[in-house]
């Protein structure tokens, strides 16, 4: 069930009415049932997988908290890790491993009888696995209290607004909210609805429109000029931002209507002044997860220099791999690690030559914002390309093909509209940056009348320009 569907609006309306009509004691169970109904609307079998992962971590958490013996704690933590990650590895990475094994065997001149597995990736598996593991790890390190009520815990893992696309919540932030006695507040309803509308606009008007052009160009990059590929890459940068942050906004907005506060997941990442700043603003819930549960336990930056470089590469590459089982995602992660290190060395050089004062100048900040955006766009080539060879072809063509002809897609009107929407998004982001417009749940500086018309316009924009999944498709151009 997608957020941008009438089925979800109907489902959510029922959940909202029933949730606030129930006595407190029944609400968490209801949310749990509703979340499983939401998940099972896609493929009911995978609900058992989610239930299994939830129970493993719930039980492991209890066992970890019941003992003071370190070895026993470690044992249960390892059990939780193995049993939680195994389904993820099987469904998401098994075919990648088999594929690369076969390539290796063929290269060495051997033969293998291995065949690919016929698996469907369960929706949200990467998200609920990481969310479950964060709990077990936090209990192990005593960063959170153990949960003794399975219904509460299962509801925390399966909570439908953030189940399939995040944000990846921490038990210390979300689990405790299931124990609160939420009262209906119209203020929260309005706040949540506003964020949902903005998220829906970003997704169906901007992201889904840009994807039409990007899919066309990246589908056969060899047929297009460097200029066209550049445009498609920038379009993709905006598409993935609007798609992901749009979905996060809809998740956070829906949760808010029910009285829950989910964490902010995007904080104007394309206005970041450095790669490290970008990763503090992009998919915040994932980057903090990797920082807290991988980078810091590996020693973070409190290790020898070469070990730190190694840590950076491991974290970014695994982060890339988390996104998908392809070499393109691994390279994408590796590029970000490289950019991060280059930036670090650049900062050191500025300091060495006593030039770090330039960081205070606005021109330098603007230069850095543009540079970070360009570097991130370059990395996106690898994230989006259908293969490594395609990614290299696109990169080389962008760098060397100076033909200025830009393919405008099947419709010039759609192409021009796409550019206008990107400019519109930029203006809104700047207004959010200067705290004039609302970001997350901040109070805007505009008048109530202006805000009122703004949301009416967004709704009209959605109805007029929103792309439907079963739209009219014309094959002849």
């Amino acid at each position: 069930m997608l957020f941008n569907s009438w089925e979800f609006i109907g489902f959510f309306s029922i959940v909202f009415l029933v949730y606030f009509s129930l006595p407190y004691i029944r609400r968490t169970l209801f949310i749990l049932i509703a979340s499983y109904v939401f998940y099972m609307a896609w493929k009911w079998e995978f609900a058992f997988l989610m239930l299994g992962v939830s129970y493993v971590n719930y039980y492991a958490g209890k066992k970890i908290s019941q003992t003071d013996v370190k070895r026993k704690k470690q044992f249960w933590l390892v059990v939780a890790l193995l049993l939680s990650l195994s389904p993820l590895i099987y469904f998401k990475y098994a075919n990648f491993i088999i594929d690369n094994y076969l390539v290796l065997i063929n290269t060495l001149g051997g033969k293998s009888t291995f065949t690919f597995l016929n698996v469907i990736l369960p929706a949200g598996i990467s998200f609920f696995t990481f969310q479950s593991l964060s709990y077990s790890i936090d209990v192990y390190y005593k960063k959170t209290t153990v949960e003794n009520n399975f219904v509460n815990f299962a509801a925390f893992i399966a909570f439908f607004p953030q189940l399939v696309a995040g944000p990846i919540e921490r038990s210390s932030h979300l689990l405790s909210q299931f124990k609160e006695k939420h009262q209906f507040k119209s203020e929260w309803f309005v706040e949540g609805a506003k964020l949902f509308i903005w998220g829906l606009f970003k997704k169906v008007v901007i992201a889904d429109r840009l994807s039409l052009y990007v899919d066309d160009i990246y589908g056969n990059p060899e047929s297009h000029t460097g200029a066209t590929l550049t445009v498609a890459t920038v379009f993709f940068a905006i598409q993935i931002y609007c798609d992901f942050s749009g979905y996060s906004d809809m998740a956070i907005g829906s949760a808010r209507i029910l009285g829950f506060k989910l964490m902010q997941n995007f904080n104007l990442p394309y206005l970041a002044v450095s790669i490290s700043d970008f990763w503090k603003k992009w998919h915040i819930s994932l980057s903090t997860w990797f920082a807290d549960y991988l980078y810091i336990p590996m020693g973070g930056n409190r290790v020898k220099y070469l070990r730190w470089v190694f840590n950076i590469f491991v974290v970014f590459i695994l982060s890339g791999f988390w996104h998908g089982a392809e070499w393109t995602f691994i390279v994408w992660g590796g590029l970000h690690a490289l950019f991060y290190l280059l930036e670090n060395w650049g900062d050191k050089l500025l300091y060495y030559f006593s030039m770090d004062k330039i960081k205070k100048y606005k021109t330098y900040k603007l230069f850095k914002i543009v540079m970070v955006f360009l570097l991130v766009c370059f990395a996106w080539i690898f994230f989006r390309a259908n293969s490594i060879s395609d990614a290299f072809l696109i990169s080389i063509k962008i760098a060397t093909d100076w033909n200025a002809i830009i393919y405008q897609g099947s419709s010039t009107v759609t192409f021009v509209l796409s550019i206008l929407l990107i400019l519109f998004l930029l203006v809104v982001q700047l207004l959010q940056y200067f705290k004039i417009a609302s970001l997350y749940f901040s109070k805007p500086k505009t008048s109530p009348a202006f805000q009122f018309m703004w949301y009416i316009l967004l709704l009209l924009g959605i109805t007029l320009l929103g792309i439907s999944s079963n739209a009219f498709i014309y094959f002849q151009f």
Binding site: L17, K185, V190, I456, L460, L465, Y474, Q476
Partner: protein
């Protein structure tokens, strides 16, 4: 529910927020209705619906790019409605004809675009009924769309008028108000690439369906019953493509010729010869470029004026 009502009573801002929400819904639907009306009227102007036009062009992009409306009007000294839409099949065109018959009282002649793929079901478009959402207030269109769309899709578009549009239709609507009907695709077909594609079998295959022929017959019969003159017009398609399936191509032409003989008011004008061999007229294998549009429109004017 009692609990919810209890919260509402305790919520100090509820009354204010409820008024805002209700007011928002009212304003939204008011804007939606106004915008929907404005865009629909523009679209009617663009397609020549609800006008005093005596001649109407009915077809898909093939006819859209094949004929210059303004040039045709000057040449015939008659007003012309250019009701051509990308991806419309024979079923869609039946509805388009019904709209013209209902809303254009002075209609005397329909120039109906034909090609060898007119009776082929697959490969033109998907969900073409969605093109008719802006005209849901028309009973014929409403019935047609209701029979094709699923329940939620139909009712969403029925209730929210702006959801019936997209940027292409908005563009057409605005152009209707600006009296801008030019449809141009600039460029020349890459014949080398086309030959390769044809050799690989990468082209839309002709598959004449009895059902589609029957639908066209119904359309022609309805037009004839209103004493409307019908011209089945074959705007040239490139000879390279025409020759890819010679037998099927001949079969399609034969069907069109037979239809013109079956109905008194129907005439078949084929502009295939010699124009299908002049590759400089084509943007791609079936669509004409601006040069082709000019040449073919002039040719059509000559033929129509001769028939008088």
């Amino acid at each position: 529910m009692l609990k919810l009502l209890d919260y509402i009573k305790k919520d100090e801002k509820f009354s204010k927020n409820l008024k805002i929400i209700i007011f928002s819904v009212v304003i939204f639907f008011a804007c939606d209705t106004f915008l929907g009306y404005f865009l629909t009227k523009g679209l009617e102007k663009y397609y020549g619906l609800n006008t005093s036009s005596e001649v109407a062009l009915v077809g898909h992009s093939h006819l859209m790019l094949g004929i210059d409306k303004s040039m045709l009007e000057k040449g015939l000294n008659k007003s012309v409605a250019k009701y051509t839409r990308e991806g419309v099949n024979v079923s869609d065109r039946k509805i388009m004809v019904k709209q013209l018959l209902q809303h254009n009282p002075n209609l005397k002649t329909v120039i109906y675009g034909m090609d060898a793929w007119s009776f082929t079901g697959e490969g033109l478009s998907d969900n073409s009924y969605k093109l008719f959402y802006p005209f849901l207030e028309d009973n014929n269109v409403d019935t047609y769309v209701n029979n094709q769309a699923d329940f939620s899709d139909y009712w969403v578009h029925k209730i929210i008028k702006t959801s019936r549009f997209n940027e292409g239709l908005i563009n057409s609507s605005i152009r209707g108000y600006l009296d801008n009907w030019s449809n141009l695709k600039i460029g020349e077909v890459d014949t080398l690439q086309l030959k390769k594609e044809i050799a690989l079998g990468r082209y839309r295959k002709i598959d004449n369906s009895v059902e589609n022929v029957a639908i066209l017959k119904e359309t022609l019969a309805e037009l004839e019953s209103h004493n409307i003159e019908i011209i089945l017009l074959y705007i040239p398609t490139i000879d390279l493509l025409n020759g890819a399936e010679k037998n099927k191509f001949k079969e399609s032409i034969s069907i069109i010729e037979n239809l013109s003989k079956e109905f008194k008011n129907v005439k078949f004008i084929s502009l295939l010869e010699p124009w299908s061999h002049d590759h400089s007229l084509f943007f791609d294998q079936i669509h004409l470029n601006p040069k082709g549009q000019k040449v073919i429109t002039e040719e059509l004017i000559k033929k129509l004026n001769l028939k008088k």
